[in-house]
């Protein structure tokens, strides 16, 4: 098991390096001027050139990359060109806000997805299966930007039950676990949960149906095990793959949904990325993408390590 963990960690290092290269280069491929963040659109050429030199954007790309990577390894992701604030502080505060949303949306999607998928798989090809499958297809198909707006119109504008936007009456810095704040989380969390809910439902449905069709289940029943005990065996077999899918979905959620966070003016990493993209704020873009990618890499690493603990077949292999 230790060797397995060390092997997984060793794989993570080159993946992380490749991620830094892609993060750095990707933002340079997009057309647009990195100084749009600070210079008015009609700034004359000499102002732009002077700024490029001041911010180091006139250096060759490999040199810019090496400098950036060197600082990043020491935890310094530079400063936002637009605001002057450190990229780390910007990203960390945004990721904190997204984590709140991601965990809420994630929990909702995992619970709903597991229940619906389990029911659909267990009662395969029945009415229950059809209803659960329809819900999951709607979940993955519905554009969540549209869904967010519809939920806002219904629950905020018409019924006035829930707020339309924001991370609390006083903003995210004054977050508290009381109803006044949690009600701001409800609509964006529901909106964010539908796609992962749909994916998890479909995955678990297929896994449960597949496992139930295997011979060992017949053998278990022949041995006289009741439904509950058989179900526990099914869960153990389904869990590793389901866990992997959930881990991936959590990674996507932590990456932040640009659309959902913009619709609800939720100050998370998606909202931050949105601003950085439109402003061509390269250091902020690079830093944000890098941190989010690393979160993904770490999450996958955790899932890879936890899976064998659940599935003895993986331990043996």
């Amino acid at each position: 098991m230790l060797a397995y963990i060390l092997k997984r960690l060793a794989y993570a290092a080159p993946i992380a390096l490749a991620v830094t290269v892609v993060c750095f280069l990707l933002v340079h491929i997009a057309p647009g001027d990195p100084l749009n963040a600070i210079a008015p659109a009609d700034a004359p050429a000499e102002v732009i050139e002077a700024l490029k030199a001041a911010y180091g954007f006139d250096l060759p790309l490999p040199v810019q990359y090496a400098k950036w990577l060197g600082r990043a390894l020491l935890g310094d992701l530079g400063h936002s060109v637009a605001t002057g604030r450190t990229v780390s502080s910007e990203v960390l505060s945004a990721v904190n806000n997204t984590l709140l949303l991601a965990i809420a949306g994630g929990m909702l999607s995992f619970i709903l997805g597991t229940v619906l998928g389990g029911l659909a798989g267990y009662f395969h090809k029945s009415k229950t299966d059809r209803v659960a499958s329809a819900i999951s297809v709607i979940g993955v198909s519905i554009p969540h930007y549209w869904l967010g707006l519809v939920l806002t119109i219904v629950f905020s504008t018409w019924l006035n039950w829930l707020p339309a936007m924001g991370a609390g009456p006083g903003g995210s810095k004054e977050w508290a676990w009381d109803y006044a704040h949690i009600r701001h989380l409800i609509l964006p969390a529901i909106t964010l949960s539908v796609i992962p809910m749909g994916i998890i439902t479909r995955t678990i449905r297929a896994l449960v149906a597949e496992v139930l069709a295997q011979e060992f289940v017949q053998a278990l029943r022949a041995k006289g095990l009741g439904d509950r005990q058989v179900f526990l065996h099914v869960v153990k077999n389904v869990a590793p793959t389901a866990l992997a899918v959930m881990g991936l979905q959590l990674g996507y959620l932590i990456g932040g949904s640009i659309l959902v966070e913009t619709v609800f003016a939720w100050p998370g990493s998606g909202f931050l990325l949105n601003t950085a993209i439109f402003q061509r704020d390269l250091p902020l873009l690079q830093g944000t993408i890098l941190i989010l990618c690393m979160v993904f890499v770490v999450l996958n690493l955790i899932v890879d390590i936890v899976q064998p603990l659940i599935d003895p077949r993986m331990r043996r292999s």
């Binding site: 647009g32 600070i38 050429a45 605001t83 002057g84 504008t157 995210s172 913009t262 003016a265 931050l272």
Partner: protein
């Protein structure tokens, strides 16, 4: 016992009397929550970023310029008014030297005095890269807006001399963009502009109480503000960045904010039914197609340019926007002092448009095909895609087939700065650019598009218009210090622009705001500068 009782009664009476005296001064704080269309709070260090529309939020609230714009009137165009300078005039012998008499008795929010040293310090902040307080970001924001300044010096504690590169009567129009922040505060915060951003100090009618990046800025009334006519009518204004128009509108309808800028056009009827007030006004903004006049461009033919202008039903576009626009009759609104009497009347006349196209040699079998670069959206671009599709269909009716190159707004700015002649434009066959323009002053409205000195890379005369007559008129305008004469010159420039149909002018934005019934007062200026001191709540 009697003595004690009477003593107690006396004490109670005294307490009641004190309460009565104090009562008028005790009141609940009035708060206006303003949903703004930006994705973040504009910079608070002194020179806001995010364009002209940002100055109303963290520019002219926290700071003052030497020469201000009259933004607290809505029934007529504003004008330049004294700010931190009470008087300014060019030297009679050398009109490149401007003397500014500074306002006495003004203090920054931190208590330090405003004087000539502060002005020089602020000029160094944006123009002198050797100065310890120089800030590249603030400099980048404001330098393109104050291009005339060559040098400056202190004459005495309350007098500053600024020298321009050449005689320029329009120089004062540049100064509302240049704001004065406190040198003492900068020093007290260790010379760190990032710290100043969260604890700014200006002389403005508001102070910054709280700043949460990307979420809110809370401005509180400056009770010691020097201009009694501009004391804020609300104790606290909370700015909330809500970039999505529908989200902003929903926030207003659910009572999370009290006023918003730029409501989603489709929601206007619903807002009006719900008792919300839509406020709009003539705004120095125009939404045009800027034609390339280079050889090879089909727009070189004035008949084609005029035909395009006559082919657009502007009233229909205003309907498309639910009334949140006005038809354009030129680069400027007819209420502008420089509009004049152009001979070319921009209106919807399909028959005349077709006639002009026929005269230009086009027919059913010989259609004009060309490409226009547009943005998919973004600040100032209004409803870019539907409006452009409307234009495309309209022009198709007169034999002009437009293909669009749709790019993101920041990318469009790159094309704009590069000019029509740039390789990317040439090789892609782009002959016009659709970009909304601020037309707030003569330079922004006329000079930068018509003066041949501003052809790329020196400026944004994108279409490469060159006229010796107009160049001479504009050069002469800079030496005219008499307002009537100057207006006459600028009028000729505008008339020329319209008569030559240098652009396809479609509509002017009206900078709409939607107000909840709780907002009892808000004066919308005919400018992108708005005065938030006029906001008054229930």
């Amino acid at each position: 016992m009697l003595k004690r009782t009477s003593g107690l009664m006396g004490w109670l009476a005294a307490v009641q009397l004190s309460a009565l005296i104090a009562a008028p001064t005790l009141h609940a704080e009035t708060v206006a929550r303003y949903g703004i269309s930006m994705a973040d709070i504009p910079l608070t260090t002194g020179q806001p970023d995010r364009g002209a529309g940002a100055y109303q939020f963290t520019g002219h609230t926290l700071y003052d310029p030497l020469v201000a714009w009259e933004a607290n009137v809505g029934d007529r165009p504003g004008k330049l008014v004294p700010g931190l300078a009470t008087e300014w005039k060019p030297d009679a012998k050398d009109p490149t030297k401007w003397l500014f008499t500074l306002r006495k008795g003004v203090k920054f929010h931190d208590g330090s005095a405003f004087n000539a040293d502060a002005v020089i310090w602020n000029l160094d902040k944006v123009l002198n890269d050797k100065a310890p307080q120089f800030d590249a970001k603030q400099g980048a924001q404001v330098r393109p807006r104050i291009p005339s300044i060559a040098s400056y010096r202190k004459i005495d504690d309350m007098t500053v001399e600024i020298t321009t590169k050449a005689a320029d009567s329009l120089f004062p129009y540049q100064l509302p963009w240049f704001l004065i922040s406190s040198p003492a505060q900068f020093a007290a915060l260790g010379g760190d502009w990032n710290k100043v951003a969260s604890q700014p100090s200006g002389t403005g009618p508001f102070k910054l109480d709280k700043l949460v990046p990307r979420e809110r800025a809370e401005l509180i009334r400056n009770n010691d503000y020097w201009d009694a006519k501009r004391k804020p009518q609300t104790d606290r204004v909370v700015l909330l960045p809500i970039p999505d128009a529908l989200t902003r509108t929903n926030a207003l309808m659910t009572g999370q904010v009290d006023l918003i800028e730029s409501p989603a056009p489709d929601t206007v009827p619903q807002l009006e039914k719900g008792g919300f007030r839509i406020v709009k006004n003539v705004t120095p903004h125009v939404w045009p197609y800027h034609f390339s006049l280079l050889p090879g461009s089909p727009w070189q033919d004035i008949r084609v340019r005029k035909a395009a202008n006559l082919a657009i039903d502007r009233d229909a576009i205003v309907q498309l926007l639910n009334g949140l626009a006005v038809p354009a009759k030129g680069q400027l609104d007819p209420s502008s002092p420089w509009f004049g009497h152009p001979k070319f009347d921009i209106k919807y006349d399909l028959a005349e448009a077709k006639k002009l196209m026929a005269e230009a040699g086009y027919s059913k079998d010989k259609r004009l095909k060309t490409k226009v670069i547009i943005a998919q959206g973004g600040t100032g671009q209004m409803l870019s895609l539907p409006m452009n599709e409307f234009i495309q269909q309209s022009l198709a009716e007169i034999g002009i087939d437009i293909e669009f190159e749709v790019v993101e707004l920041e990318n469009l700015y790159l094309h704009w700065r590069s000019g029509a002649a740039a390789d990317m434009a040439k090789s892609k066959g782009i002959t016009a650019i659709n970009l909304a323009y601020v037309t707030a002053d003569p330079f922004y409205a006329l000079t930068r598009f018509q003066d041949s000195h501003y052809i790329a890379p020196n400026g944004v005369n994108w279409g490469n218009y060159k006229s010796d007559e107009i160049d001479a008129l504009l050069a002469q305008s800079k030496t005219i210090f008499d307002t009537k004469q100057l207006d006459a010159n600028l009028t000729k420039v505008h008339e020329d622009m319209v008569d030559k149909a240098l652009m396809l002018w479609v509509v002017h934005d009206v900078n709409p705001h939607a107000l909840s019934p709780k907002v009892k007062g808000f004066v919308q200026a005919q400018h992108w500068f708005q005065d938030l001191t006029t906001i008054r709540m229930d």
